[in-house]
């Protein structure tokens, strides 16, 4: 197996304003994100040779060709649950390394607010929903199963989850593109209505419309577009066989798929001590418990020990490794196809020193992780990548 490290560069990115975009269609969001990326890279739609469209809600490559009026170029719609956005980048990276194309576009987007009801729906792939086994609860209800077990096993409490949300809200309040831009306190989080015990309102991300885009080329071509490009260091993907809720082997206190994908990306990127080597992690914090168990699955702390690091502020903006410096899904919501690309956007901007508000800007960012996990705990589809400055 050959390494993909530093072979592909991101030379332009765009990100729509995330929120309840009642006045915007999915196509409006795509145009908003893609045209920011075009401008950022100094290219136009006619320069793009192939594209990948990341969305759960729309079928086919037309979902990009139509809103952007691309010129009959090859486009695939990619879907991999919550990892959908990152999967567009994975597909594009391999195509560039194969030299099938020289300049490509990835757009992840979702229009979640046209359903007439709140929430993201069943979260199950279409056609795969079993009448009595498939839908038993909402996504927070499913993640709460893990929180209950984690609390019982390791003695963490609701306040530890609250502290994660307080941290993410703090970061999101400093991001103009975020959906929820309000700082909260631990007391507010603990007093909030219960959504799915033990998870309260502030343990859950919003339901949001949004889009994000990236323009990629091979690393040797990148200087033609810009000096401060970033490169793809590693890409991981782990699909759980789907047995956590059926198989007694699963303990409900760790994310196995995230752990497996982490092993892949650390090996590809040569990471030995993540806590020292990584500067930024944009992880899948659809619920606070998701982020907590990511600390452990990604090797930033030992299993069952996350509460000590939460109390110490290890993962805050001014801590050892910033988690969700951009505000995370907590502040951006989770327009499913958009989230992964939006995470890479935060890493890209942080490395370039261009976080919109100085109070969110980290110092000397070299390497960051983007991560998503989708599905039912015990049955995840995990996609993740490491991105950073060339040669690092």
């Amino acid at each position: 197996m050959e390494s993909i490290k530093d072979k592909v560069a991101i030379v332009g990115m765009g990100c729509s304003k995330f929120g309840e975009r009642w006045d915007c269609s999915a196509w409006d969001l795509v145009v908003e994100a893609a045209y920011e990326a075009f401008e950022d890279a100094g290219v136009g739609p006619k320069d793009i040779q192939a594209a990948w469209s990341g969305t759960l809600g729309f079928a086919g490559g037309q979902s990009l060709a139509y809103p952007l009026k691309l010129d009959y170029i090859p486009i695939n719609r990619v879907e991999n649950l919550c990892g959908t956005g990152l999967e567009t980048i994975r597909a594009a990276t391999y195509a560039l390394i194969a030299k099938a194309y020289d300049l490509v576009l990835c757009v992840g987007f979702e229009k979640t607010k046209d359903r007439g009801v709140g929430g993201l729906g069943s979260g199950e792939p279409m056609g795969g929903v079993h009448p009595v086994f498939g839908i038993q609860a909402t996504p927070p209800g499913r993640y709460a199963l893990a929180a209950t077990k984690y609390f019982a096993m390791y003695g963490a409490e609701k306040k530890h989850l609250a502290m994660i949300s307080v941290k993410s809200h703090y970061n999101g309040a400093r991001n103009p593109k975020a959906h929820l831009r309000r700082e909260i306190t631990v007391e507010q989080a603990l007093a909030a209505p219960i959504i799915a015990w033990p998870l309260g309102l502030f343990d859950c991300c919003g339901v949001t419309d949004g889009a994000a885009a990236a323009i990629l080329c091979r690393a040797e071509d990148a200087p033609k577009f810009r000096k401060d490009y970033i490169t793809v260091k590693a890409l991981g993907n782990s699909a759980g066989p789907g047995c956590g809720k059926m198989m007694t082997d699963y303990d409900w206190v760790h994310w196995e798929e995230t752990y497996r994908a982490t092993q892949q990306v650390y090996q590809q990127a040569g990471i030995k001590d993540p806590r020292k080597e990584l500067d930024l992690v944009e992880c899948h914090d659809c619920f606070s418990i998701a982020e907590l168990m990511c600390y452990e699955a990604m090797g930033f702390c030992e299993r069952g020990k996350a509460k000590h690091d939460i109390e110490a502020g290890t993962f805050a903006l001014d801590g050892e490794v910033a988690f969700n410096a951009g505000g995370g899904l907590k502040s951006f919501g989770h327009p499913v196809g958009a989230s992964g690309v939006r995470e890479v956007y935060e890493i890209y901007k942080q490395i370039q020193g261009k976080a919109e508000e100085p109070s969110r800007q980290l110092k000397n960012v070299q390497l960051g992780i983007a991560h998503n996990q989708g599905g039912h705990p015990g049955t995840f589809m995990c996609s993740m990548g490491i991105f950073g400055v060339p040669g690092r």
């Binding site: 009801v117 709140g118 929430g119 729906g121 069943s122 929903v129 079993h130 009448p131 009595v132 086994f133 498939g134 839908i135 038993q136 609860a137 909402t138 927070p140 209800g141 499913r142 993640y143 709460a144 199963l145 893990a146 929180a147 209950t148 077990k149 019982a152 209505p193 219960i194 959504i195 799915a196 015990w197 033990p198 998870l199 066989p241 047995c243 809720k245 059926m246 198989m247 007694t248 082997d249 409900w252």
Partner: protein, 472 residues
């Protein structure tokens, strides 16, 4: 001699204090409380509960026929006994039939079962009776009705109570009735139907039986009589010459309510679980005529009484229904707005019936682990197609973890989402029902129960949930 081989019963966990109905409607109060089916129960699920309790310790392969008696079968067209048979995991060749449209349908089914056994066309017949009738809101019927189920196994081997005499007659009277599209039971004036419907018929049947077999009231240790209400129940008993204190079987009227087609059978189970060897029991049902039987309790009764889930077990185990509004909600009379999606598929229901309805998992012949739902490739050892089907419905389990989902679509939030591990191995993903949300903890023992999950396109989707062990 043919007779009863085993029995079981079921009473829903919720009880509605009848004064809560009175608080909403006023009018004449009816004392006591009514057993109310949970929002996920109906006559089919209650018949499964009673039938399953009746079959404990019995080899199900022996059952040759399954009759379901009810005036509230959820489907007008589509047999409900077939669903009950599937959920009880009875063999394919079982004869199934619904006995409906009459309060007397349970005793009609018992007579048909006795006839089949006597004729030799079946050795063992399971008769289940369940009802979940609704009186019109504000009426005395609403305050009198309750929900419940009972089951008896009729056979000629291992009989614990022989049926030695019977009487039947029909009677055409507008007592209580429902047209095809009626939600609520209609009644004529109570003074008329009590006198010429209930009393006349029960008296005629019992007197006819005693005359035919030369029996007198003093010969019986117990009289199980259908009841209109407590007062009229006792009046009929006295009219027949029974001593109310010592001979009349408790009508359950003030603790459960009138459970329609299941009523007489539930009282009979109540009598059987207290009966001693040598007891003689009179049974008389009512509805469009009356049926009466004489039962002689034999030596095996003690063995069946042991650990049997009948009336006593369920009567003592209860939770108060907090309000009349809950009752209206559970019966669908007060409808909320819920967003259910993609929840019915006749095809999936059909091809997955062995685990959706019969609750069979796959036991891997290679590694021995239980796979539920059944798989082609073992979750544990990846062997392909090496499974034997095993029924999991009666296995004990412990709660591994849970959540309380306030937003999931349900008529009774929060959804208690559960991961349970069976004591004998294997994991089950289920909702919890019949629970107090404040009394759930990791590690608590739970058992499975057959429930109605939801409906769409006129399909009732049944499946299994878990519940805390029912204890008084």
């Amino acid at each position: 001699m043919a007779g009863i081989v085993s029995y079981g019963a079921y009473i829903p966990i919720y009880r509605l204090d009848r004064s809560l109905i009175w608080l909403s409607w006023g009018g004449l109060p009816v004392a006591g409380e009514s057993a109310i089916a949970n929002f996920d129960e109906d006559s089919i699920t209650m018949a499964v509960e009673a039938g399953n309790n009746c079959l404990q310790g019995i080899n199900r392969v022996q059952v040759d026929a399954l009759f379901m008696a009810s005036t509230t079968t959820p489907y007008k067209e589509k047999q409900c006994a077939a669903i009950v048979a599937e959920a009880l995991d009875l063999k394919r060749g079982v004869r199934t039939a619904d006995f409906t449209n009459s309060l007397r349908s349970a005793t009609t089914a018992i007579q048909a079962a006795l006839d089949a056994v006597a004729a030799g066309s079946a050795n063992t017949v399971l008769v289940t009776a369940a009802d979940c009738r609704m009186g019109h809101p504000s009426t005395a019927d609403e305050r009198s009705f309750g929900d419940g189920a009972a089951a008896v196994l009729i056979g000629k081997n291992n009989v614990v109570a022989t049926v030695d005499a019977s009487h039947t007659h029909y009677d055409d009277i507008m007592y209580q009735w429902r047209l095809d599209d009626d939600l609520f039971v209609r009644s004529w004036e109570d003074r008329f139907i009590i006198e010429h419907g209930y009393q006349d018929n029960v008296v005629e049947a019992v007197k006819g039986l005693m005359a035919k077999y030369d029996l007198k009231p003093a010969d019986f240790s117990r009289a199980v009589l259908f009841a209109y209400d407590t007062r009229r129940h006792q009046a009929v008993a006295r009219k027949l010459g029974f001593d109310v204190q010592t001979q009349l079987q408790d009508s359950l009227f003030s603790t459960v309510g009138n459970t329609g087609a299941a009523y007489t059978l539930m009282m009979l189970v109540g009598a059987l679980e207290e009966a001693k060897t040598g007891a003689k029991i009179l049974v008389a049902s009512y509805g469009d005529g009356a049926d009466a039987f004489v039962l002689n309790v034999g030596r095996g009764i003690g063995k069946v009484q042991k650990n049997r889930r009948g009336i006593k077990y369920h009567l003592e185990s209860k939770m108060p229904l907090p309000s009349y509004t809950h009752y209206l909600r559970y019966r669908g009379l007060l409808q909320g707005s819920f967003f259910f999606e993609n929840q019915s598929a006749a095809t999936i229901q059909w091809r997955d019936r062995s685990w959706n309805i019969s609750c069979r998992g796959g036991k891997c012949l290679s590694c021995g682990n239980i796979n539920f739902p059944p798989q082609r490739i073992c979750m544990y050892c990846q062997s392909k197609d090496q499974f034997e089907e095993v029924r999991l419905a009666d296995r004990k389990a412990k709660l591994f973890t849970f959540s309380k989902d306030s937003l999931g679509p349900t008529l009774d939030p929060p959804i208690i989402l559960c991961i349970l591990d069976f004591d004998e191995g294997g994991r089950f993903y289920a909702q919890m029902t019949d629970r107090d949300p404040d009394k759930i903890e990791v590690g608590m023992p739970v058992e499975l129960t057959f429930r109605w999950m939801h409906s769409e396109r006129g399909i009732r989707n049944y499946y299994w949930k878990c519940r805390p062990l029912r204890q008084a």
